[in-house]
């Protein structure tokens, strides 16, 4: 039986209690959402917290509600399954429910939370391995050592970020509410990531994500998330792409965001999408230009099972092309 390291457990009933525990215990504590990433990492001894702080008993962290027409609020402990089945998401923010439905397996969608998906650790074939497996090589940057087995002359960790809902949330201009013992603040989802493989999250010590906020839906908007993986039923992405487009009545693109997944240490926006498409009626040629830019923005390295970096770079362009076509078609623009 693969066992967890010994750890204490506490499940506070309120957010404020959770924040004070986090402030008091600092780095020895790990926050437990659905546990589908963290408990795997604990079993593999990638992390060995002495204390697990479960958010599962805090009812204010669950659920999906419109807030006075200003924004859609999603509690951080809302399950991915709820993102799939809730019609306020599938109707108005299709990229998000599509992304949730492409995470892992059915069981993982019931267990995994959107907060946990936002805070998913970066991955690498040399890191997501048992302790015994890792012992056969020098300790790499991600585990506190001084080498990288993927980029041998590299000076840092290049582990890949692959949380599937994240590009969708960025494309949809989502914000998160961060709460700690002394303050709360709203931050764009795109600002949550450092771009560093070792420490991928820009959270301050003691920060919790309490909710996600999506801007109110508009009829003239469409979005999608496409993902390619080795085994359809379970795997993390080789590449993912989220696209959101807004249109005016006369078929002009008034806003566009393209965000790639799993091609770098953080989610990767393709700013050229906006520059090339906004203010114009999308055409196949313009879409192809954006796809070429997406391919240039992708910086995959050889740390993902089942694919080479060259393949994933090429795939970034192909999926971007497909996603833009799909969204522009859906809005009747092509």
């Amino acid at each position: 039986m693969l066992r967890l390291p010994k750890a204490d457990y506490y499940a506070p009933l309120s957010l404020s209690e959770a924040c004070s525990i986090l402030a008091e215990h600092g780095k020895e504590v790990k926050v437990l959402g659905g546990g589908t990433d963290l408990l795997v990492a604990c079993k593999l001894r990638n992390v060995t917290p002495t204390f697990l702080l479960s958010l599962s008993s805090i009812s204010e962290l669950k659920g999906i509600h419109f807030h006075e027409g200003e924004y859609l609020k999603i509690g951080a402990m809302t399950s991915l399954h709820d993102l799939i089945v809730d019609s306020s998401i599938s109707d108005h923010y299709p990229a998000l429910s599509q992304a949730a439905a492409l995470v892992g397996t059915t069981q993982l969608q019931y267990m995994g939370t959107v907060g946990g998906n936002l805070c998913l650790n970066t991955r690498c074939i040399y890191y997501n391995q048992s302790e015994t497996w890792r012992k056969s090589r020098d300790v790499c940057f991600k585990m506190g050592g001084n080498v990288c087995h993927v980029v041998p002359k590299g000076k840092k960790c290049y582990a890949v970020f692959s949380g599937d809902t994240v590009p969708a949330l960025i494309a949809l201009d989502a914000k998160v509410k961060l709460v700690n013992n002394t303050e709360e603040r709203l931050v764009s989802v795109s600002r949550l990531y450092t771009g560093d493989g070792k420490e991928p999250l820009a959270l301050k010590s003691g920060d919790l994500i309490s909710e996600i906020r999506l801007p109110p839906p508009t009829k003239s908007q469409s979005s999608t998330y496409l993902k390619y993986r080795e085994r359809e039923a379970i795997d993390f992405p080789m590449v993912g792409v989220a696209v959101r487009m807004d249109t005016s009545d006369d078929g002009i693109c008034t806003g566009c965001k393209v965000v790639l997944n799993a091609v770098d240490c953080g989610p990767t926006e393709v700013p050229q999408a906006r520059e090339l498409l906004e203010g114009k009626a999308p055409t196949s040629d313009l879409i192809q230009e954006v796809a070429v830019e997406a391919e240039k923005r992708a910086h995959p390295v050889a740390n993902t099972p089942g694919s080479t970096p060259a393949y994933r770079r090429k795939l970034s362009g192909i999926l971007t092309h497909r996603a833009l076509h799909q969204v522009a078609n859906g809005l009747g623009m092509l």
């Binding site: 437990l32 589908t36 408990l39 069981q107 019931y110 379970i234």
Partner: protein
């Protein structure tokens, strides 16, 4: 550290003292001798440890036992009524959907969750519902047939 927790397993209410780092899978198999639920990978990737928590499929290898406080858990042992197999179990037997049997408890619990929500699933929905359960023997066809046959009747 040991903590007290109460939950219901297969309609039986229990109160246990459990080490805080124990998974539900360890408690089922080692403390309660409910060894029908299997450990395959122990890492969330095979579905062999699937049980139902409040009728939703969950991986017991990645669930802390303390997290199921006051919840209802169903395992493969709870499906038989007296000496009668549950219709899903019977259908697996009749369709030859079991070879080595290691994936079967998890597979059946995933199917049970699906049929609880959707008594008439399409073949595609059956495939999706069991897509988190690996089987190295059957090639899946007979499993899908077994679930499909009871969803039609």
């Amino acid at each position: 550290m040991k903590k007290k927790v109460a939950f219901t397993i297969n309609d039986e209410h229990m109160e246990l003292e459990i080490e805080s780092h124990k998974t539900l899978l360890e408690v089922l198999r080692e403390d309660l001798a409910l060894t029908g639920t299997k450990e395959g990978c122990g890492l969330g990737a095979c579905g062999a440890c699937t049980v139902l928590i409040e009728d939703s499929p969950a991986l017991s290898c990645l669930t802390l036992a303390l997290e199921v406080k006051n919840k209802h858990i169903s395992t493969i042992e709870g499906l038989m009524i007296g000496d009668e197999l549950d219709p899903i179990q019977l259908s697996f037997v009749e369709h030859g959907a079991i070879q080595c049997g290691f994936c079967t408890p998890g597979m059946i619990m995933s199917a049970k969750a699906l049929l609880g929500q959707n008594p008439r699933p399409a073949r595609k929905e059956i495939k999706y519902a069991i897509s988190g359960n690996l089987c190295r023997c059957t090639g899946y066809k007979k499993i899908i047939d077994a679930v499909e046959s009871i969803s039609n009747g």
